[in-house]
């Protein structure tokens, strides 16, 4: 039902099929509806169970990231990025760090980059776990969610071992990592690499070829590649529509060019495509991690950036010079190059861009986040038109709209 729907009154419209005037009902999906996992509202216009139109309202957790970023020194913005796409906060952290490094024109040691790759791919897996299992939950199959979440818990443990927090990690520093991986962390990563594939396969067996699930998802919430591009889709959702745009391949960052991996694509961008693309991406991520572990170079885990990277603690404790640098970094009194730079990473949901304008002060002059969710969620009404209520719910969860990223 792609024809434009003509509204003729308070709650009347002209049925595009029969050409008769009909009454529609409005249904308020959200903001506290269980399907809107984050918080946004959709006022659906429904003809029975069929969705005629949707009017999304967002901004229910608008937290003014861009404004805060103008008032915080560079290193404190890491904690902000944590809370954007909280399903995969390390990617955001590192995206931000790489943006600043690009501004500083800093050279990062290979080892730090490989460590970053491992962390980023782990968090991509954790992001996709959430999305895919939540599609399961929304179709009514709760169990797969609980199976995979145990392994997400293991990813949490790895992060906790590396940085000290589970979800909002504040991981890494401008210039590298704040510390190298510990022995336990490596052990846990290996454990994850050994055990997770089985569990992922089990989850896939549980749903992917189940006809109920396939019937539910195939042909539901589809979008063509051209439309997807026009609406600014990126990431798995764009790839599901058949366009293999991946920032990791197109504009490699953090040594992604060293790794060999496939870019899974779908055909017509429906829920099943998204589900399968995300599922396959987890496998690709696993392979990237394995390659990174195998090829892990020796070396330093951070760049030599005395203006930004905190000096080692033992020097701070007894050397005056280091102490002064320490103070200057924490107070944010170092000189920053003037300029503007855009850096994008492949976040869990697509191209996560940071547009940074620096005027040389301790804070960014302007920091704009290109939040993939925000941009592609506006296509939601377009996508669900003509589908049923259940399709609308599934489409929402398969698009993996993270409210924190959406509302900034």
């Amino acid at each position: 039902m792609n024809k434009e729907i003509i509204y003729t009154g308070e709650n009347k419209f002209i049925d595009p099929v029969t050409g008769q005037e009909k009454e529609f009902t409005t249904l308020n999906l959200g903001p506290t509806h269980p399907a809107t996992h984050g918080i946004f509202q959709n006022i659906l216009k429904m003809d029975g169970e069929v969705v005629l139109d949707a009017e999304p309202t967002v901004g229910y957790i608008h937290r003014a990231f861009e404004k805060i970023a103008e008032r915080r020194p560079f290193y404190q913005i890491t904690v902000l990025t944590d809370r954007m796409n909280y399903c995969s906060s390390p990617i955001n952290n590192m995206g931000w760090h790489m943006t600043v490094e690009k501004l500083l024109k800093a050279e990062i040691p290979k080892r730090a980059e490989y460590l970053r790759v491992i962390i980023m791919e782990l968090s991509r897996i954790s992001d996709h776990i959430i999305c895919n299992t939540v599609i399961g939950v929304d179709t009514g199959a709760m169990t797969g969610f609980l199976y995979l979440f145990q392994w997400r818990e293991l990813i949490y443990e790895i992060f906790e071992e590396i940085c000290g927090a589970r979800l909002t990690t504040n991981i890494g520093r401008i210039g590298g990592m704040e510390r190298d991986f510990s022995e336990i962390a490596w052990k846990k990563i290996h454990k994850f690499m050994d055990e997770f594939p089985d569990k992922l396969r089990e989850f896939e067996k549980l749903v992917t070829r189940n006809r109920i699930f396939m019937d539910r998802t195939i042909g539901c919430g589809g979008i063509s590649g051209q439309n997807a591009l026009a609406y600014g889709f990126t990431g798995p959702n764009l790839r599901a529509a058949g366009i293999d745009y991946d920032v990791r391949v197109m504009n490699p960052y953090s040594s992604y060019q060293d790794f060999d991996f496939k870019v899974p694509v779908g055909t017509n961008g429906d829920v099943y495509d998204r589900f399968m693309v995300r599922g396959q991406e987890m496998w690709e991520s696993l392979s990237i991690i394995r390659q990174a572990i195998d090829k892990m170079p020796k070396g330093d885990f951070h760049a030599d950036l005395p203006e930004f990277y905190l000096p080692p603690k033992e020097e701070v404790y007894n050397q005056m010079e280091a102490l002064i640098y320490h103070f200057k970094i924490v107070m944010g009194e170092n000189d920053v190059p003037v300029g503007e730079v855009y850096h994008a990473v492949e976040g869990g949901n697509g191209e996560l861009g940071f547009y940074l304008i620096s005027d040389g002060g301790r804070t960014p002059y302007r920091l704009h986040f290109r939040r993939p969710c925000f941009i592609y969620y506006q296509a939601y009404p377009e996508i669900i038109k003509g589908g049923m209520l259940s399709d609308a719910v599934l489409t929402m969860s398969s698009m993996n709209v993270i409210a924190g990223e959406l509302d900034a």
Partner: protein
């Protein structure tokens, strides 16, 4: 409750058929009144159902009275017809509603829209 219902069989004593005559006459007239007074097509339909049921009741009563199963068989047929009628009738009603946005029978006097 169930015991009570099942043991009514055992009593096997019936009420004079005349009473049923009155009762079904009353029900029938209520149906007629409903069909005449209400303009909501669905209520109208239901009044017709009520009338049919009044007849059903009478038929069972007579069947019982005469000891002939034919009456009950006829009730059976009435039910079939009623079900078919309801299916078609409601479908028509839905179409009418879809096209006019109302089920008021007054609206239908045009026969063409």
């Amino acid at each position: 409750m169930n015991y009570f219902l099942s043991n009514l069989t055992l009593l096997n004593i019936t009420v004079p058929v005349q009473w049923y005559l009155y009762l079904s006459a009353a029900l029938f007239c209520i149906g007629v009144a409903g069909a005449l007074t209400r303009r909501n097509a669905i209520i109208l339909f239901m009044s017709v159902e009520l009338m049919l049921n009044a007849v059903n009741l009478l038929m069972v009563a007579f069947s019982n009275h005469l000891g002939d199963a034919s009456g009950q068989v006829f009730v059976f047929f009435v039910m079939v017809v009623a079900a078919a009628e309801v299916a078609v009738g409601l479908a028509i009603l839905m179409m009418i509603y879809r096209n006019t946005g109302s089920v008021d029978v007054g609206f239908l006097k045009k026969l063409k829209w």
